[in-house]
Structure formats: C-alpha cells, structure tokens
Amino acid sequence: MLLGVIALILMQVNSNLKKLSDQAEGVTLPEPIPFWRNKTNIAILSIVFFVFGGYMVAKGAIGLGRQKDYQPVQPIYYSHKVHAGINQINCLYCHGSAEQSKHAAIPSVNTCMNCHKAIQAYEKGPKLFDEEGNEIDGTAEIQKLYEFAGFDPNNPNKWDPSMAKPIEWIKIHNLPDHVYFSHAQHVNAGKVQCQSCHGEMQAMDEVKQVSDLSMGWCINCHRETKVQFNYDSTKGNKFYSIYEKFHNDIKSGKMDSVSVKDIGGLECQKCHY
C-alpha cells in the first residue's frame, strides 16, 4: 500500500516535470484533463478496487460460518463474572462433565438450585449491565431461574425438583459436525485451562466467543502446546511411557520437549472421523 502511494506521488512528480519540459520545448498541449477523468488514474483505481474488493470477498468467505465475538442474549442474564470471578466457583463445579466427557455440559437446573435455594437475591455484588448499558436486576434474574425450576422461594420445602423445566440457553461455541472435539481430552488429559479457548470467563458478564474456532486456530495450538509427557517418573502422564523414541531423544538431548504435533496432533483423523 505504502509503495503504491509513493509510486503515485513519483508518477505525479514525473508527469509535472514532463509537462514543464514539454512546455519548455514549446510542444502544443491538449486541454489538461481533470484528474478524475485521467484514464491512467481510473485504470489504477479500478485495479486497486479490484484487488481490495477481492481481498474483502475472500475474507468474507472465510468468515462465513464463523462467529467470533458472538454474544447472544441468554434467557437468563447469567454472569460468569459474578459466579466464577467474584465468587470463585470452580468451572468444573457446573461443567463437571468436561473432565469425563466430550461435552462440558451446561449444568442442569438442579445444579443451579443447589446454591440458589439459599441465595435468593443478588445484593452484595457490583452492579450489572447488559450490552446496551441497561442495569440488570440480579434478583429478578434469579427469579427467572425459579420459574424454570418451579421453585417458590416462600415455600422452599415444597419444591419438587422433578418438575423443573430445562432452560434453553443459546449455544455460543459451535463446531461443525465433522469435528470431533472432546473436552475430556483437553481438560483432563491435556490439562488445558478453560480460559485458553473460552477466554477470561471469570471477567465476562455475558459470555462471548473469543476464539474464532477455525481449524487454523486449533492447529496452531496443536503445534505449540506441550503434552503431559512423563519426562521422568514423577511427572506427566504415564500413557506416554510407550513413546520410547522420545524418551531416548530427550535423554540424548535431541529433543527437549514433546508437543502435540509430535504425537500426531496434526493428523486429520485426530479430529475428523
């Protein structure tokens, strides 16, 4: 871009000089053409437009189906900041299956009710605001939960958990169907922090998708991340004890660490099958 601008300036200078020299030579000159009708300029502009347009189209096409920064309005204003940040509730308390299953399932209503049977109002925390800056009444949001749970705060003992209705949250992190992603593999076996992919959840009120979840994004992480290799008998995952070659290479100093790509993390069928 910069080069182009410099070139344009130089061309302008050149043409002015030429004009001067022509005048000096007394060559008859046609009517000067305004720059917007100057066909050279038009041609250059159209090329620039073409290139830039093509770039934008390609960028748009790549972005199709991606939803980075997706932040839908949820049926209940649930603040991760309040729960995970201020109150320091462990992620796995609610998303426990992330350790065991491919899904980090969204907690069921009864999980919410474990605490909210007692915590019936939002009082102590900071003020909450939605995207538009409107203030959110935390207590009213808890009330919404009670509606789903069929819970009457005035009559807590009469609550029948089996009458709860599921809350239809809007799913934010969507992967295409041809991708197999297992939370257990990453969280449990790989010891990857939730925040690595989901961002600083404990600082977010409403959840937003911070990663673009593109294949390139996955692959880059697989290229760089180190596996829980058992470099010695005290550390790491014994699963990797069968990788004799790596153990030898590490001993001999040929290799200093084992990353995901070394154990096949870039292979297609690790995620697509």
């Binding site: 199709l64 189906g65 939803q67 839908p72 299956s97 065991q100 299953s101 491919k102 899904h103 399932a105 969204i106 907690p107 069921s108 209503v109 009864n110 999980t111 789903f148 958990p161 089996s162 709860a164 209705k165 599921p166 809350i167 239809e168 949250w169 809007i170 799913k171 969507n174 295409p176 169907d177 041809h178 197999y180 297992s182 257990a184 593999q185 449990n188 076996a189 995952n237 014994k238 699963f239 990797y240 004890s241 069968i242 990788y243 004799e244 070659k245 790596f246 070394d262 154990i263 096949g264 292979e267 297609c268 069928q269 690790k270 697509h272 099958y273």
Partner: protein, 1072 residues
C-alpha cells in the same frame, strides 16, 4: 402426517398415564436436545448436534447458502441430570437378545439415552461375547418406522377392514375383557418358543389358558425323536468345543441351526491351529445344497435331501462296524465310510448333528450319537436347551380346534403362522372362526392382520424380561430406553387380563427376588446380565426302542428321482424376522453374496440342462454372459398347486438335482418398505409329511424364459489362483510343507529386501527407495484367521452400526454401489476339471488394510487421505472432493464412494428423488427417517454425498480407549481398544491391537503363526497392517508345489484350484 401426531401424543401419554412410573425410571429423563422447540422428544427436527451427526458436515454450508446467516443453536441441558448419566459418555447395559427362542446375552451401548450398538456379553460362557448378524442388527429394529405405535382395533369387515387406534390401555383392556367374556370357548395363547421362566409362570397362572408354542421352522422332529430315544421332549446342549470330529447331516449349525452363535464359538476352538503341533477338528458335511456350514466343512459330500435318512442309517451301520448299506453313489458311500471311521476313532469326542425335521431320521442320528459315545461328552443332557419347543401336531390340533369353533380367544405373541405355516390359508380361515383374536406383535405382520386387536409389545431393548436358554442359565433383559411408542409388554397384558394388576416389571422383580432368594442377587444378575450355574454333564438315558421302526420307515420310503427343493434360512433373514431390517437385507448371503431377496440356488448341471447356461464346460462368452450381468434366468418352481418364479444363481457344490430357496422373504407390504415385496415367500413349499413339517420336497422346475436381476455384491467366484490374495491349503499339506508361505515371504525378503551390503534382509525397509517413516507410539494392526471365519456377517452388521454405514437399497446394490466398509469375500475352490466339484470355500473378510505405503494416499490431490503415525490410513471426509482416484488405486477395492445422498447429509435438499437414473429404493428414505437416525453413532461423522469413505479401524473406539488410559494416567492395555468387527465375531477370528506392544495378542498371533500368516498382495510392498492366517482344510490331500512357479513363492498346486471353466479366465489365466 399421522406419524407426527403420534409423536406429540406420546408426551401426553406420559403425563397422564405413566407419570407415577417416571420417577423411578432412569430412562424417562428428558434428554438434552438442541433446538427442540416445545415439541415432543422425537419431534425435534435437529436434535443435539453432537448426538445426531446425521445432518452431516454440510449443514452449515446449506444454511449459509440459504440465508447467509448462522442458525441459532440452542443448548438445552437436563432439567435434572440423572446421577449416573454424563452427556456424551456411553453407558452399557447388560440385557438379552431374544427372538423366536434364540437367546444371546448382550450389552447395549447407550449414548445420551439411546441404544446405538449391541455388543456380546462376554461374561456369557456359551456365546463368549459372540453375536450374530441378527443380534447386531436388532438395535435398528428398535427404531423401525413400521413398528406398531399404539394399541389398535380392527373396524369394518372384509376389504373395508382397517385398524384404528385405541386411545388408552384402559380402554383397550376393557374392550378385550368385554370380548373375552362374550367369547365362548377356550382361551389360547399361541407363541413362538418361550424360554422366559417368569413368562412361563404368568402363563401357568392364567386361569384356563391353553399355551401352544409354534416355531416358524420346526424342530419338532428332533424333540419327538429325543423323546422316543428316552431323553424326553427336550433338546440337549452340544459341545462343539470339545468335538474333534463333527458330522453334520444337513444341519446348518453355523448359520441357522438351533444356536449358531454358541456353536460357532465352540466350533472355532477346533478350527484354530496351533502351529507347533498342527491339528484341527474334522468336519464332515452331507447335504443337498451348499450351506454356510457346508462351506466350512473339511470334507463335504452331496446327497439328495430326501436321502438324509438313508445316509444316517448307512452311517449308523458303518459306525457299528457293519459297513455302508443302501447307498448307491460311490463317492457318497466312500464319504460315509470315511466319516464313520473318524467317528469311531474319536469316540467321546465326536458328534453327529442333523438338520432334518423328520423324527425317524433324528432317531437314527441319536442312535449314531449313542454309538459313538457322544452322550455325556459332546452332547450334554445335563444342560438341555430351551431354544425350540414347538411340536407340529400340537399346532395342527389347535387349527383343528379353531376350525371347529371351540377356540373362543386366541392371543398371539412371537408367532406368525399366517406367513410361516405351510397351510397359511388354512390357518387364516381357522382364524375366521375364532371370536376374539389379539396380536402382541411389534409389527403388523401377516398374522396380526388377521387379528381383531393388536397391542404391540415392546422391543427387547425397551423391556424387562428374562430368558433361560438352557438349564442353569438365566439371562436378564432390562430396558435401555423408555418405550418409544405406546406399547406394553405382553406379559403385562396377560397379567391384567388374568385379573392381576401388577405390571410385568414388578412381577418380574418379585419373581426373581423370590426365585433367587434376595434382591441383592437379583441386582447382581442384572448387573452381570446373566447367571450361569455349572451343572454336571449328563449322558441321559438312551433307549433304542424306536430305532428299528424308524429305520424301517426310512428304508421303506420311495426313492425320489425328480428335482428336489430344499428350503433353508439365511443367517441374516432367518425365518423372516430379519426381513424388516435394512442392514440384514443388505447383508450379502455368505454363499451367494446376494442381497435383497431370494433366488433359487441351482447346480451347474441343472443350469446347463434346464436353462442352457453352461458353466460346466461351455464357452467363456457363455459364462461371462451369466457372470457380468445381474440379470439371471428365472425358473418356475411348482410343488403341488403352489408355484413361484425365482431367478437362479448357479453355484458349485449343489447336488445335481437339488435346488435351494431361502425362507423369510416375500413379506407383507404392511411390514414396511424394507420387507414388503422383497423376494418370494417359499414357506408355501414346506410340506406336512407323516413325521412332521418337511423343509425339502419334490418340485417341478421349468424355465420361465425371462430374466430378473439379482443384487450380488460379488460376481466372480474363484480367486483365479492368486495365491498372493488367498492362501488356502490342507492340513496334510501344512504338515508336510509347513513353509510354503514363509518361503514366499522369504523369497520377497531375499529378492527385494536385501540391504546394500547384502548381509541383512528387510523387505519392509529395503523394498523401497525411500526411508521409512517413524511410528514412535502405538501402531495398530489386525489379524484375521480365515480358518475361523464362516461368513456369517456379524462383523459386517456390527461395522454398519458402529460406523453409520449407509444402506443403499437393492437398486443401488445392483449398480455395485454398496457402501460396506467390511465385506466378506467368498471364493469357491473347485476341482480343476469339474467346476461343480467343490473342494472348499474360503471366506476372507476384507476391509481397509491400512497400508503403510498406501497407494490411495499418494494420489489424493487434496490430502484428504494420508497416514497417521499410528499406522492408520486416515480418511478425512470433509476434505474429500470425490475424485475417486483413491478408490481406483486401491488394490483391495475397499474404498466406498457416496454415489447419491444416502444419508441426508448433503448440501442439496430433496436430492433423493432422481427418477431417470439411479432411482433410490424407499429403504434409503426409511433409513433417513428421524426415528431411524436415532441409531446413528454420534461419534462418527455421517458422510455426505460425493465423498469416499472406508474402514477406519473404528478410530472412535481407539480414541476413546486411549482417552480412558490417559485419564487414568497409564499406558494403554492390550484389549482395551477393540474394533466393532472384532467384538462381534463369535469365533474370535479377528485380533486387533498395538503391534508395538510385545505382549499384545496381535503380536502373539503373528509370531505364533508364521506358517500361516501372510499379507494380502504383500509383493506390492504396500505394507498392509492387516495380516491373514491361511485357510486350512483338514484333509489328507497333499498339494505339491507347482513346477510352473519360478519362485517357491507360488507354492500351490494347479490341479487343486485352477480357474474353473465357468470363470472368465481360462486356465491359462492362472498360468504364471
């Protein structure tokens, strides 16, 4: 659509009627769905992305194309998560497959509330965790769109008659009760064989109920013969595992006879060879047509089906040392003599089984078994089996009574005489004289159509129950999913109608708590799936009282000279129960490799004489015209007044004047798009003889002078002497020349594997210009023992279920568009001079060989297929653009292309309605029904149209196993990662594991079987990761190395299996 309506009413039913029960029912929980907007569970159009990957990988593309917006997806968690269910983690429930008396203890894999796969229960001693194709496919039956969805009542008369829903069970009970009260005459319960102790107790407790058991294919001859021989009207346990010599007189014990899973497991013990001391069991088969069991026989002799009795008698006399009498055919005679000698020499470890339903024949067989000391050894009367209990005469008496009008009420469960009975019309008219008829059938089968009421029973995966396949064994059935439809266990109905208001579930629990003494033991059986008490073996009390009379009856029968027809069951379809299952319909028959329909198997002689198709010694053109076109000549088969027309398939090893037709086809259209109109019903050819229903008869055959297409998945029948592909030999040869295969492999090593300095050889490393890739961790490998493969197809169906392999329908199979990831190649080995003279049959399971130097990988332009460090040939569907180059370049032809939108995973909507070319069968639509799709494995992508797919070594299972090991922080143990085909196999023919693990089973099997182990097309240096063990027939024939072969490599005898004349290749084709 009516279908929708009932889905919605399903929710209502739950609330009103069964609400109380929901609390206890672990499967009742609302499942976590995405995008089900206030409709019923099954109405959700796009349930959980992860669960049903059925939308495939192009959903996003399609919706983007449509609106350029990203659809909002919802994530709906459980309202209350059941404690033991983690979304995304599979649960296994021990239950039992029960069908028509067959019992196979199984584990049902349940993912997010849906059973999606059946595994054998390896705690079961007699099946050893084996399954059959029908067991594997049974999970699909659960989601059959043609199951009855609610209780219903017939209204109108004659042609106007139709079934209408009865809204509640209460109303239904009232209707039935009223009708029962008004119907005079006896109450009859007609069932198939019932081997559930609790059900039997309910029936016994039903006041005034007459229970008649009727088997679609009768074993009454055997039951009666055993009674006559003093054992009682029972069937014994057969111990094939300790049998050294087995003689089968037309018994298809590996495919359809009695309990094939159990027998295949036992049989395989004797078929596996220890190379240090090569020996194996010896199997003689005498039969009229080529059965699946006959295909695995070591020595096979053909006789007319009507001669079975004579053969049995001759065998008896030979075993008793009196020589062979009454057999004219010299070859057959010699065979009997040989078999008798072997039986005699192996007293106590030999066994004779017979498939005949003729009491007299079975009496003679019992005499033989007595003579060879089988009782108490290979035949165990200490553990009689309960697989079949129907007696022909009892059912006949019932019909007589029905005709007479003395039967007021008939309730039918698990029996379908309107289809399977030889006099179906007689049964139908008798039904007309019964005042009240109720069917408990899951489907609107031929008999249910005749009934006034139908109250569908649960599928076994939805039911509680039990089964006692044999004495001392009880196997529990427990539900794995809340009933999909408004169905009720038929036992509950019986209880209710007999005035007992307990549900069967309660009754069952009470019954077993009582029987077992405690709830703890009940729960422990529920946990384990079954209880198997060891009972001492017993010889029973043999009596030869009726032997003389039976022998007399056999010898006095007139010899038949005309054409004989034998009716058989396919391992897939069985008596017809498999016909509604698309996986089973598309499973090729072991012998004919044909799918979707029945046909007449005829001998080459008959084809030549009757149809002018000369495969015996005709021109090559003639045989090509038969082989390369699916249109086969049609014959008209006439037995008495019954006649049907069927296309023929010409196969070797048939008795010259015998044709064979499979039962189970030609079902009613009401059973759905899969079964209806496929093939012809051959039950009309079963006949009643003096001793029972006969499955072979005299028939008149004429050429119908037209052709019909038969959908075969393999058209060429011999392996063209391609020893690099198929290795088969005889036991004697293996003993004499044990190094034929190692010699060939050494030859490759020596010729192509020498290192630069010539000191070491390594074919793998030196056979290429390139350096080898490192495989630092696990390396997967598979071994298939061809000697333990009998072609049953359980693995094939297991593969379908595990990997979401699409069903393509007959029209597409005809176009060679089948999608099977795993196929069982079947090769006939015939005499060089007489192609009809079958010497053996080789079954070779063929799946992706995961070659380390895979030719397919190299040619993919977009890198959609490549190699993993674990030795897996990876196929990335979402990268594939469908050039099919890889499929062309695969020497094993195991890659499958999605020619049309078989799965509904395509970007283009409504593209299964092509009319001009490639019209798809309705079964494809059926498989894409939202209900049917519930069977899909959520861990495996459903492939869209236009991509290649193939065996992945069940990669999802390997990943899951590795993840478990990682979670536990330990190395992967051998046997943790198993493929679906491996677990399905009753005979453990498939071994799979990490070949880098020196202690693994796969390493051991390769190391211990060097004389039989080989890789298919090893000379290509594609380095497959699937090894095979050569097929060995236990005969004395010595196959000498052929002088034509320059290298010892081709150590195989021309005379043994040179290309028969009926193949495209003339013998010179095999000329190396």
């Amino acid at each position: 659509m009516s279908q929708k309506k009932y889905w919605q009413s399903f929710g209502e039913v739950n609330e009103s009627e069964q609400f109380a029960k929901q609390q206890q029912d672990e499967f009742r929980e609302e499942l976590p769905f995405e995008g089900f907007d206030d409709k019923g569970l099954l109405d959700a159009k796009a349930p959980r992305r992860d669960f049903l990957k059925y939308l495939g990988f192009s959903t996003a593309a399609a919706s983007l194309a449509a609106g350029c917006t990203i659809p909002v997806k919802k994530a709906i968690p459980f309202a209350n998560r059941p404690e033991n269910i983690i979304p995304g983690v599979a649960q296994y429930y021990a239950t039992t497959f029960v069908q028509e008396g067959d019992v196979v203890p199984v584990l049902a894999k349940v993912r997010d509330g849906r059973p999606i796969k059946i595994e054998g229960n390896d705690r079961c001693g007699f099946t050893g965790g084996g399954t059959s194709a029908r067991v594997q496919a049974s999970v699909l039956d659960l989601y059959d769109t043609h199951r009855l969805r609610f209780p219903q009542q017939k209204v109108g008369k004659g042609d106007q008659a139709r079934f209408e829903e009865v809204p509640t069970f209460e109303q239904f009970d009232k209707l039935v009760a009223d009708a029962m009260n008004s119907a005079s005459g006896s109450k009859v319960l007609l069932t198939g064989t019932i081997n559930s102790p609790s059900t039997k107790a309910i029936i016994a407790a039903y006041p005034g109920l007459r229970h008649v058991q009727y088997d679609a294919v009768s074993y009454s001859g055997m039951l009666l013969a055993n009674e006559a021989s003093g054992f009682g009207r029972r069937l014994p346990s057969y111990d094939f595992a300790s049998t050294k010599v087995v003689v089968s007189l037309g018994a298809d014990f590996l495919g359809s006879w009695l309990s094939p899973v159990e027998f295949a497991k036992g049989y395989s013990v004797g078929r596996k060879i220890d190379e240090k001391n090569p020996s194996m069991s010896k199997h003689y088969q005498f039969e009229g047509y080529l059965s699946m069991t006959g295909a695995s026989a070591d020595e096979r002799f053909v006789c007319r089906p009507s001669e079975t009795g004579l053969v049995a008698l001759a065998l008896l006399s030979a075993v008793s040392g009196s020589g062979v009498n009454g057999i004219k055919d010299a070859k057959l005679k010699a065979g009997i003599e040989k078999a008798a000698a072997d039986l005699r020499n192996n007293k106590g470890t030999s066994l004779v089984v017979c498939g005949s339903n003729d009491k007299n024949v079975q009496v003679v067989v019992n005499a033989i078994n007595n003579a060879i000391g089988a009782y108490g050894k290979t035949i165990d009367w200490g553990k009689p089996v309960n697989y079949r209990a129907g007696i022909d005469s009892e059912f006949e008496q019932l019909i007589v009574d029905m005709q007479a009008g003395t039967v007021g009420t008939i309730m039918i469960y698990g029996a379908n005489p309107a289809y399977t009975y030889h006099d179906a019309a007689g049964f139908a008219s008798a039904m007309g004289n019964v005042k009240l008829s109720v069917s408990f059938s899951e489907r609107m089968d031929e008999t249910s159509e005749l009934c006034q009421f139908a109250i569908p029973s649960h599928h076994y995966l939805e039911s509680w129950g039990d089964a006692s396949p044999k004495a001392g064994v009880v196997s529990f059935i427990q539900p794995t999913i809340y009933p999909l439809f408004k169905t009720r266990a038929f036992q509950t109905s019986l209880l209710k109608w007999s005035g007992n208001d307990t549900s069967y579930e309660e009754y069952f629990k009470q019954y077993w708590t009582r029987e077992l003494g405690s709830e703890a033991s009940f729960n422990s059986i529920l946990q384990e799936g079954l209880q198997d008490k060891s009972l001492p073996a017993a010889a029973g009390s043999y009596s030869s009282a009726t032997l003389a009379a039976s022998a007399q009856a056999i010898t006095s029968a007139n010899a038949i000279t005309g054409t004989e027809l034998v009716l058989y069951q396919k391992a897939s379809i069985g008596t017809g129960t498999g016909a509604t299952n698309p996986w089973l319909q598309e499973l090729p028959d072991a012998i004919s490799k044909a799918t979707w329909g029945n046909y007449a198997l005829v001998s080459m002689t008959m084809a030549k004489e009757l149809l002018g198709v000369n495969l015996l010694n005709g021109t090559e053109k003639e045989s090509n015209n038969y082989e390369y076109y699916p249109q086969k000549p049609v014959i008209k088969i006439t037995v008495g007044k019954q006649e049907i027309e069927l296309p023929v398939l010409i196969i070797p090893g048939m008795q010259a004047n015998t044709i064979a037709v499979a039962l189970g086809y030609g079902r009613s259209e009401k059973l759905g798009r899969t079964a209806g109109g496929i093939g012809k019903n051959a039950y009309c050819f079963t006949t009643r003889t003096e001793t029972g229903v006969s499955y072979n008869t005299v028939a008149t055959i004429t050429d119908a002078k037209r052709k019909e297409k038969v959908a075969q998945m393999q058209i060429h029948n011999t392996y063209e002497d391609r020893v690099e592909v198929v290795r088969e030999t005889t036991l004697a040869t293996l003993k004499k020349h044990p190094s034929v295969i190692p010699d060939y492999r050494n030859h490759l090593e020596e010729t192509y594997g020498k290192s630069q300095d010539g000191t070491t050889t390594d074919f793998r490393k030196e056979g290429t210009l390139y350096p080898m890739h490192e495989q630092p961790g696990i390396k997967w490998g598979m071994n298939v023992d061809m000697n333990a493969c009998y072609g049953c197809g359980a693995c094939v169906v297991a593969c379908h279920a595990e990997n979401n392999v699409p069903v393509v329908g007959k029209s597409e199979v005809l176009r060679y568009h089948d999608m099977h990831w795993l196929r069982i190649d079947r090769y006939f080995v015939s005499d060089a001079n007489n192609p009809d003279e079958l010497k053996g049959v080789v079954f070779q399971p063929m799946m992706c060989q995961h070659c380390d130097n895979a030719p397919c990988e190299n040619v993919c332009p977009v890198a959609a297929t490549n190699h993993s460090a674990e030795g897996i040939n990876q196929m990335t569907y979402n990268r594939c653009i469908g050039t099919r180059y890889c499929a062309n370049n695969c020497p094993f032809k195991v890659r499958r292309f999605n020619w049309a939108d078989y799965t509904g995973a395509d970007s283009f909507p409504n593209n299964r309605d092509q009319q001009l070319v490639g019209k798809l069968d309705p079964v494809v639509e059926q498989m894409n029904d939202d209900l049917t799709r519930m069977v899909l494995n959520p861990d495996v992508t459903v492939r869209s149209r236009g991509v290649i797919e193939k065996c992945s070594f069940c990669f999802q299972r390997l990943q899951a196993a590795k993840l478990e090991a990682k979670k536990a922080g330990r190395p992967l143990q051998d046997g943790e990662a198993k493929t679906a085909c491996q677990t399905a196999c009753a005979s453990n023919a498939i071994v799979f594991g990490n070949v880098h693990d020196p202690s693994s089973a796969i390493t051991a099997v390769r190391a211990n079987n060097t004389n039989r182990s080989y890789y298919v097309l090893e000379q290509l240096h594609v380095l497959p990761n699937v090894s095979y063990l050569a097929k060995v027939r236990n005969t004395d024939e010595i196959i000498e190395a052929d002088s034509h072969h320059a290298a010892p490599a081709h150590g195989d005898n021309k005379s043994d299996h040179a290309a028969p004349a009926h193949d495209a290749a003339k013998p010179e084709a095999a000329h190396h």
